[in-house]
C-alpha cells in the first residue's frame, strides 16, 4: 500500500508529464501545419499545382516550339548554299497588261474608288508571343492606331502573322508577302508596307499620290546620304509604297537574292558592310540591300524611285516625341512634316524582344506618348481626349448635346469644313 502522500505526489508528477507532453505536441504541430486548420494545407498544395501547371502552359505557348516541328528537331536547319539561286517565285512577264485586262473584265473591282487609287496597307508580326508581354501590348496598340488611320482614309489592312517563305524570315519576310498580294489583288494600285513599330501620328495627312504618278516606289530618305555618302540609313524600309506593276515585281526579284538566311545572308552582309557607310557588321538586312541595289544599278531603277523627305513617311522617333506638346501648342494635324509628323517610327526600341538599343523606360514612355498623341486626334471627333500623353484615361473636351451632328461637322477629318478633295466627286481621275 503506497502512502497517501506519495500517491498524491505521483499523481501530480503524472499530470505534469501529461501537460508537458501535450505542450510539446502542440508546439510540434504548430510548427508543421500552422495555426490554421488542417484543410488549408491541402488547398495550398492544389493551388501550387495549378500555378505550376499554368506556368508550364504559358512557357510552352511563349516558346518557339511548334507541335508540327519534326521530332528530330535537333538537326541542323537546312540553309541554301552560296551556289544556290533563290527566287521569290516563277518569273512573271507582262503583268501590266495582265492587270489591265483583268481590271477591264472586273469593273466591280476598280483600282480607284471615289477618285482615290486603292491602297492596301501591309504590316505584321511573328506568330508567337513576344519575348516579353509589353511587346504584345504595343503591337496591339500599334495595330489599333493603324486601324484608325486606315478607317478614316479608306485603306484596307492586311496583318500578316505567317512566314510564307522559310528562307526569307525576319525583316525579309515582307518581300514574298508584297509580291503575293500584288499578284492576288490586281485591283490594288499601291501596296504600302509599314513596320509594326511605326505609328501614324498625323491622322489627317494623306500621302500625295498624284505627286508619284511617274514613280513606282515611294520611300523616305535623303538623296545626298544615298548618292554621295552611300550611307546605310539613306533610305528607310519601315514605311514605303510599291505600285502594283511589272517594274515592282522586277525590283522585288532583284532585291530578294541577299535575303535567304544562312551563308547567303551572312556573306551578303559582309558585302553591304564593306560598301555602305556606317554599317555595322551583321547579316544582310533588307534596307541595306535595297540601298546597295539602287546604288549599283542606279540607271536601271532610280528614275522610278521617289526619295521623299518633304514629310515623314517614316519619322525617326528620337527628336520627335519630346516635341509633341510643342506641336500641340503651335501647329495642327494635316502637315505631316516636322511640325506634325505623319509617322513616328520606333527604330531600335524592339519591345517585342528582350533587349533594345535604348533604355526601356525611354522607349515605352515615348511609344505611349505617340499612341496617345495620335489617339487624341481620333478621340477629338467624339469629344474626348487623354488626360495627358502618358495617361490611359480620357476626359471630355466637348459637352454632349442633343444635336451631335453640328459638333461633328466641325471636327470631321474625313470631310473638311472647307470641303474640297475629300468629297471625291470633283476630282479628275488620273
Amino acid at each position: 500500500m503506497i502512502p497517501r502522500g506519495r500517491q498524491i505526489h505521483k499523481t501530480f508528477n503524472n499530470i505534469k508529464i501529461t501537460i508537458l507532453c501535450g505542450f510539446v505536441t502542440i508546439l510540434v504541430l504548430r510548427g508543421t501545419i500552422g495555426i490554421g486548420n488542417l484543410s488549408s494545407s491541402e488547398a495550398d498544395a492544389v493551388n501550387q499545382n495549378l500555378i505550376e501547371e499554368t506556368n508550364r502552359v504559358l512557357a510552352e505557348i511563349r516558346s518557339d516550339k511548334d507541335p508540327d516541328d519534326p521530332a528530330d528537331s535537333t538537326d541542323e536547319p537546312q540553309f541554301l548554299s552560296l551556289n544556290d539561286t533563290y527566287t521569290l517565285g516563277p518569273k512573271i512577264v507582262g503583268w501590266d497588261q495582265q492587270r489591265k485586262v483583268w481590271l477591264s473584265q472586273n469593273p466591280e473591282f476598280p483600282s480607284s474608288v471615289n477618285g482615290k487609287p486603292r491602297i492596301l496597307l501591309l504590316t505584321g508580326s511573328p506568330p508567337n508571343p513576344c519575348d516579353n508581354p509589353i511587346g504584345d501590348h504595343y503591337l496591339l496598340k500599334a495595330v489599333k492606331n493603324k486601324i484608325d488611320y486606315c478607317r478614316i482614309h479608306g485603306i484596307e489592312i492586311v496583318y500578316n502573322m505567317a512566314h510564307l517563305d522559310k528562307e526569307l524570315a525576319g525583316y525579309w519576310a515582307k518581300l514574298p508577302m508584297i509580291r503575293r498580294l500584288m499578284l492576288s489583288h490586281p485591283e490594288v494600285e499601291w501596296i504600302w508596307w509599314m513596320d509594326s513599330d511605326a505609328m501614324f501620328t498625323d491622322m489627317v495627312f494623306e500621302v500625295p499620290l498624284s505627286k508619284y504618278s511617274n514613280h513606282n516606289l515611294v520611300i523616305h530618305g535623303y538623296p545626298d546620304l544615298l548618292f554621295e555618302q552611300k550611307s546605310w540609313i539613306a533610305l528607310n524600309t519601315g514605311s514605303f509604297l510599291f505600285r502594283n506593276c511589272q517594274w515592282s515585281l522586277d525590283l522585288l526579284d532583284t532585291w530578294a537574292p541577299m535575303g535567304p538566311k544562312g551563308p547567303i545572308r551572312e556573306e551578303a552582309g559582309k558585302v553591304l558592310t564593306a560598301n555602305l557607310k556606317g554599317r555595322p557588321a551583321f547579316e544582310a538586312d533588307d534596307q541595306s540591300a535595297l540601298i546597295y541595289l539602287l546604288l549599283s544599278q542606279k540607271e536601271k531603277w532610280m528614275d522610278k524611285v521617289y526619295v521623299e523627305n518633304q514629310y515623314y513617311l517614316h519619322g525617326y522617333w528620337l527628336g520627335l516625341v519630346e516635341r509633341y506638346e510643342e506641336m500641340i501648342e503651335k501647329y495642327h494635324p494635316g502637315l505631316g512634316d516636322e511640325r506634325w509628323p505623319f509617322v513616328t517610327h520606333f527604330v531600335g526600341c524592339k519591345p517585342c524582344g528582350s533587349y533594345g538599343d535604348y533604355p526601356v523606360e525611354q522607349c515605352l514612355k515615348s511609344m505611349e506618348r505617340a499612341f496617345n498623341f495620335a489617339d487624341n486626334q481620333v478621340l477629338k471627333f467624339y469629344g474626348f481626349g487623354h488626360r495627358g500623353l502618358l495617361s490611359p484615361k480620357i476626359k471630355r473636351i466637348a459637352n454632349e448635346t442633343a444635336t451631335p451632328l453640328e459638333y461633328m461637322d466641325q471636327v470631321d477629318i474625313r470631310r473638311p469644313v472647307h470641303g474640297d478633295e475629300s468629297s471625291g466627286s470633283s476630282e479628275t481621275k488620273s
Binding site: V46, L50, I51, E53, T54, N55, L58, R62, D66, P67, D68, G89, P90, K91, I92, P107, P110, V113, N114, D131, P133, I134, D136, H137, L139, L140, K141, V143, I147, R151, V158, Y159, M161, L164, R180, S184, E187, S354, Y355, P359, V360, E361, Y382, F384, R387, G388, L390, S391, P392, K393, I394, E400, T401, A402, P404, L405, R414, R415, G424, S425
Partner: protein
C-alpha cells in the same frame, strides 16, 4: 453520329452553359491562377535599363488634369441628353452627304464592327498576344466583307465600367457616324471562324436588334442565357437610342448594379448571384417589355452569330472533313466565342490550357480560310507554321479561288462609283 439537330438545340447549349457557369461561380471553387512566370535573367542585372523583362510598366503611366468629374449622386444616371428626333437629324445629314451613303449596294448596309480592350497591359502575360490574334482575325473577316472596324481602348464613362462600357460607346458611335446603318458589337474573346459567311441582311430589313438566342428561352423561360450580348447588331436609329436608354439603368457601378443584380438573379432562370450584367439586363428588359421592343428584335438561331466555344472547338477537324465555309451554323460556325476564358485577366472560369490551346485552334481554323486565298495553310490546327498548298505559276490571275474569297461578291463596289 450525333446528328445536326443536337448542336443547334437550346437544350444542349443550355445544359453545357449552365454547368460550366454555375459551377465556376460557386464559392470555394479554386480559381485558375495566372502568374507571371519569372523570366530567366542570364545576361543583365536586375537594373539593366535596356532589359524589358525587369521593367515595371506601371511606372510610366501618369494622369494629368486634376480631379475626374464625379457624377452627381442625386441625379439619376443617363447615357446623355435625351434625343427624340434622331431619325430626322440623321436623314438630313445623309441627304447632305451623298458620298457617305448608309447602303453600300442594294441590300448591303454600311456596317461598323466595334470591339475593344483595356488601354493597360493584360494581367496575364500572354493576354495581349491573344487580343492581337483576335483583332487580326476580325481585320481579316471585315476586309473580306467590306466592314469597318472601331477598336476601342477608352473608358468613356467610369460609372459604366466592365461589360457595361459598351453602352456609352455604342451610343457615342451611333450619333457620330450617321452613315453607319448597323453597328456590330463583338467581344474581344470572340473570333470569326467562317470567313465566307455573309450576314443575311435582307432577313433583318424590318428589325433593329439582332442577337443570337431563342424566343422561348427569353420570353417564356426568362433564362439568363437565352440570348448573348457578345455579338449583336444594332441599327442606327431612334429606336436604338431609346433601347440603350432603357437598357442602361441597371449598369452604374456600386449600389445600383449590386441591387439590380439581386433582382436579376431572382427574376431570371438559372442566374447565379453576382452584380447586374448587360446580358441579363437585356433578357429582363425584353421579357418584361415585350410589347415595347419585341417586334423589332430578332433572336437569331439559324447560324452562330455567337457560338459558344465549348460545343464547337473539338469538332473543327470533323467540320473540315465533312463541310466547307459558308454555312455559318453548327456545320461551320460563323463565330466561336470564348465565353468565360478571359485570356486578358488573371482569373478565368476554365483551365488555362484548354482555353488558350482552343483559341489557337479557332484562330488557325479561321486563318486557314484566309491563307488558302494565297495558296497556304497552317501545318495543323495547333501549329503556327504554314505550308504551301498551291504552287505558284506564271499566270497568277488564273489561280483557283475555291472559296471565292479573293474577289468576293459581297465586296464588289457599285459599278457607277468607279466611273464618278
Amino acid at each position: 453520329m450525333l446528328g445536326a439537330g443536337k448542336f443547334g438545340t437550346p437544350a444542349q447549349d443550355l445544359d453545357d452553359l449552365t454547368t460550366h457557369f454555375y459551377a465556376a461561380r460557386k464559392h470555394g471553387e479554386p480559381h485558375r491562377v495566372l502568374v507571371e512566370a519569372q523570366p530567366e535573367n542570364e545576361n543583365g542585372s536586375e537594373n539593366d535599363p535596356k532589359n524589358y523583362a525587369t521593367f515595371d510598366f506601371n511606372k510610366i503611366l501618369k494622369d494629368e488634369g486634376g480631379e475626374e468629374e464625379k457624377p452627381d449622386p442625386n441625379k439619376p444616371y443617363t447615357l446623355g441628353p435625351k434625343i427624340s428626333d434622331w431619325d430626322e437629324q440623321r436623314g438630313e445629314w445623309l441627304k447632305r452627304n451623298p458620298n457617305f451613303p448608309n447602303f453600300i449596294r442594294e441590300n448591303k448596309p454600311r456596317v461598323l464592327l466595334v470591339t475593344g480592350s483595356s488601354p493597360k497591359p493584360c494581367e496575364n502575360p500572354v493576354g495581349d498576344h491573344y487580343l492581337l490574334k483576335s483583332i487580326k482575325n476580325k481585320i481579316d473577316y471585315c476586309r473580306l466583307h467590306g466592314i469597318e472596324i472601331f477598336y476601342n481602348m477608352a473608358l468613356l464613362d467610369a460609372e459604366m465600367a466592365g461589360f457595361w462600357a459598351k453602352l456609352p460607346l455604342i451610343r457615342k458611335l451611333l450619333l457620330s457616324h450617321p452613315e453607319v446603318e448597323f453597328l456590330w458589337w463583338m467581344d474581344s474573346d470572340a473570333m470569326f471562324t467562317d470567313m465566307a459567311f455573309e450576314l443575311p441582311w435582307e432577313r433583318y430589313k424590318d428589325v433593329n436588334l439582332v442577337m443570337h438566342g431563342w424566343n422561348e428561352m427569353v420570353y417564356d423561360q426568362k433564362n439568363w442565357i437565352g440570348l448573348n450580348t457578345g455579338s449583336f447588331l444594332l441599327r442606327n436609329n431612334q429606336w436604338a437610342l431609346d433601347l440603350l436608354d432603357a437598357w442602361a439603368p441597371m449598369g452604374p457601378k456600386g449600389k445600383i448594379r449590386d441591387e439590380a443584380g439581386k433582382i436579376l438573379t431572382r427574376e431570371l432562370k438559372g442566374r447565379p448571384v453576382f452584380e447586374a450584367d448587360d446580358q441579363s439586363a437585356m433578357v429582363y428588359l425584353l421579357a418584361t417589355q415585350r410589347d415595347t421592343w419585341g417586334n423589332k428584335v430578332y433572336l437569331e438561331s439559324g447560324y452562330y452569330l455567337h457560338g459558344y466555344w465549348g460545343i464547337l472547338v473539338d469538332k473543327y477537324e470533323e467540320m473540315i472533313e465533312n463541310y466547307h465555309p459558308g454555312f455559318g451554323d453548327h456545320r461551320w460556325p460563323l463565330v466561336t466565342h470564348f465565353v468565360g476564358c478571359k485570356p486578358c485577366g488573371k482569373f478565368g472560369d476554365y483551365p488555362v490550357e484548354k482555353c488558350l490551346k482552343q483559341m489557337d485552334r479557332a484562330f488557325n481554323f479561321g486563318d486557314n480560310q484566309v491563307l488558302q486565298i494565297y495558296g497556304f495553310t497552317h501545318k495543323s490546327l495547333a501549329s503556327r507554321r504554314v505550308k504551301r498548298v498551291r504552287n505558284e505559276t506564271g499566270n497568277p490571275l488564273e489561280a483557283k479561288d475555291d472559296l471565292g474569297l479573293m474577289h468576293p461578291a459581297f465586296k464588289a463596289v457599285k459599278v457607277d462609283d468607279s466611273t464618278m
